[in-house]
């Protein structure tokens, strides 16, 4: 598995006595969409928070590889994971900068590159031209994404004023503006109507195919998961119970049990 984009080994996360994730290992490949699914409370978001540095795992190795470098995420500070290991993420409950404009949101995402171009502010205050070209490039990049998510006309509006579905897309575009190698999406389809959900599928596929970015996806909406995932990891009560292609996972008896309950209990939550 040396070619994996991210390799998660024996990840365990405990909060006090509660074991949220118990010895989970999986890998995500470059240019693929890997979905993490599982019932509520299975520990999906906790896995994300470990990968993106919001939690420090109790045990485990999170190895991210790109451009010939290896980054051990469990040892890095949260912002370094985004800045250097190039892992970007979105949040379950959207976290835009609501008072700033749509365009500004996308420029903030390019902060580190622009900071360098502005000579860490010193040269920028003096108004040197090097920064201006860098900013123009950043605006171009933002423009490209605004076009892809269909928000070009709303570039100067406050992000918080956008309708819900647009905010979701903007958050993805903002994450993409950080130039990630791995994009982690926490329930991107939540609260979207079927049309928006379809657009989201296309966006994610284009991120995989056109930008060549690996996507790690937590999602409850099985129509999204089954339609676009190349690979699915199933968690239940903090453990991995299945790992494979959508077809294989769908047929896995352990998965069916986790979602529908034991056969003799006869009740179940109707996901997908």
């Amino acid at each position: 598995m040396t070619g994996s984009l991210i390799q998660v080994d024996h990840l365990t996360m405990r909060f006090g006595g509660l074991v949220a994730i118990d010895d989970v290992s999986f890998a995500a490949e470059p240019k693929q969409i890997t979905a993490i699914i599982g019932p509520n409370g299975a520990g999906k978001t906790t896995v994300f928070n470990c990968i993106t540095g919001f939690y420090r795992p109790t045990v485990g190795r999170l190895s991210m590889r790109h451009d010939g470098h290896e980054y051990l995420l469990e040892r890095m500070r949260g912002y370094q994971i985004a800045a250097r290991a190039r892992v970007a993420r979105t949040f379950q409950n959207i976290r835009l900068f609501p008072g700033m404009s749509v365009l500004e949101n996308l420029l903030v995402a390019q902060h580190n590159r622009l900071m360098r171009a502005s000579g860490y502010t010193l040269l920028g205050v003096l108004g040197l031209s090097g920064y201006r070209t860098a900013e123009a490039r950043a605006v171009d990049k933002a423009r490209g994404w605004l076009d892809r998510i269909g928000l070009m006309a709303h570039a100067d509006r406050q992000a918080g004023e956008l309708p819900y579905g647009s905010q979701r897309r903007l958050e993805i575009a903002r994450a993409m503006c950080t130039d990630p190698r791995l994009l982690c999406l926490d329930e991107p389809a939540a609260g979207l109507n079927p049309r928006e959900s379809g657009e989201l599928n296309e966006l994610l596929l284009s991120i995989r195919d056109r930008d060549g970015i690996g996507v790690l996806l937590i999602e409850h909406d099985m129509s999204v998961v089954m339609a676009i995932s190349d690979h699915i990891v199933v968690l239940d009560y903090g453990r991995k119970i299945a790992d494979g292609t959508p077809a294989a996972v769908r047929a896995d008896p352990a998965v069916i049990r986790a979602y529908l309950g034991e056969a003799d209990e006869g009740e179940g939550a109707g996901h997908g």
């Binding site: 909060f15 978001t45 928070n49 919001f54 949040f91």
Partner: protein
């Protein structure tokens, strides 16, 4: 050794006063997550009401100290509690759901208002109070140095311990305490389950203010003087105590108060009294940097 013992006694007395104020900070923080910056000034108001109460007692000829203390205690608690209630109702409740720093800024405003109101109404000069309880027990004498435990110190510690015990019972055993803890956990859910959140929060402020009034009265009896500005420093130190003990934790507030009392008194006693406030502030900074959950606080897990 004798000096040390004497300082220890003084420190515990001071710590009891800080602890009583700290409870108000800790309860309010626990339930609505705001630093009630005006709480120190509520304490100051309490000390003024106690002062006026004592003068009234003298005028009415109530000479027997225990009766006077009891009457003034009740008076100060009740009328200071009204301040606590009114401040929450007027300055904080309308801000629930406003932006993050709004309640704190409002609280700073309330603090300024209370200080200047009292200054206008009562004058800026320090107000001396006639000694209510005289005398002391001589515990121990050696090397020409006597270790004294004054009766007022006994009263302060006894009243504090009694109030603490009663208070812990109130929080742990009664429906009100249960509702408070429910609101701490999840205000929306508590409301859905039929807890009157507004009433619970109001009562929290009322209780905090009543305890601050007791502290204010003790302060007045111990130092024999109060002024409109005493709440600022006492408030910050009590807040430090609450943070040191672990904000949100009642025993922590008491423990923190005790520790701040010890630090302050010993610093003043052995190093320099000019810098005793610096010592308290430095402790605050250190605790927040190295152990923001305090000694007895629960770690907060940030939800992302």
């Amino acid at each position: 050794m004798e000096y040390f013992l004497q300082q220890l006694i003084n420190a515990v007395t001071l710590g009891a006063i800080y602890g009583l104020i700290a409870i108000g900070y800790t309860m309010v923080y626990g339930i609505i997550g705001m630093i009630n910056f005006a709480h120190g000034d509520i304490f100051m108001v309490g000390s003024f009401i106690a002062l006026i109460g004592f003068i009234l007692c003298v005028m009415l000829g109530i000479g027997w100290a225990p009766l006077a203390i009891l009457l003034v205690l009740l008076l100060a608690m009740v009328f200071t509690a009204v301040y606590g209630w009114a401040v929450e109702r007027l300055a904080y409740r309308p801000l629930r759901g406003s932006f993050r720093l709004a309640p704190l800024i409002s609280a700073i405003g309330v603090s300024i208002v209370l200080q200047n109101f009292v200054q206008l109404a009562q004058g800026a000069r320090p107000k001396p109070n006639k000694e209510v309880v005289h005398g002391a027990m001589r515990l121990y004498e050696a090397n020409g140095f006597a270790v004294n435990l004054s009766y007022i110190q006994v009263i302060i510690v006894v009243v504090t311990v009694a109030l603490m015990a009663g208070f812990t019972l109130l929080i742990n055993r009664t429906a009100l305490g249960r509702q408070q803890r429910a609101c701490e956990q999840d205000m929306k859910m508590a409301a859905l389950l039929g807890v009157d959140v507004n009433r619970t929060i109001s009562l929290t402020f009322v209780m905090g203010a009543a305890l601050a009034a007791v502290a204010g009265m003790m302060f007045l009896m111990y130092y024999g003087v109060t002024d409109f500005f005493v709440g600022f420093l006492a408030g910050i130190k009590a807040f430090t105590a609450a943070v040191l003990g672990g904000i949100g934790s009642l025993p922590g507030a008491m423990l923190g108060g005790l520790l701040i009392g010890l630090i302050e008194v010993f610093w003043a006693g052995y190093f320099s009294s000019e810098y005793k406030d610096v010592a308290a502030f430095s402790v605050l900074v250190m605790v927040l940097i190295f152990r923001p959950t305090g000694l007895l606080g629960k770690p907060e897990i940030e939800k992302v």
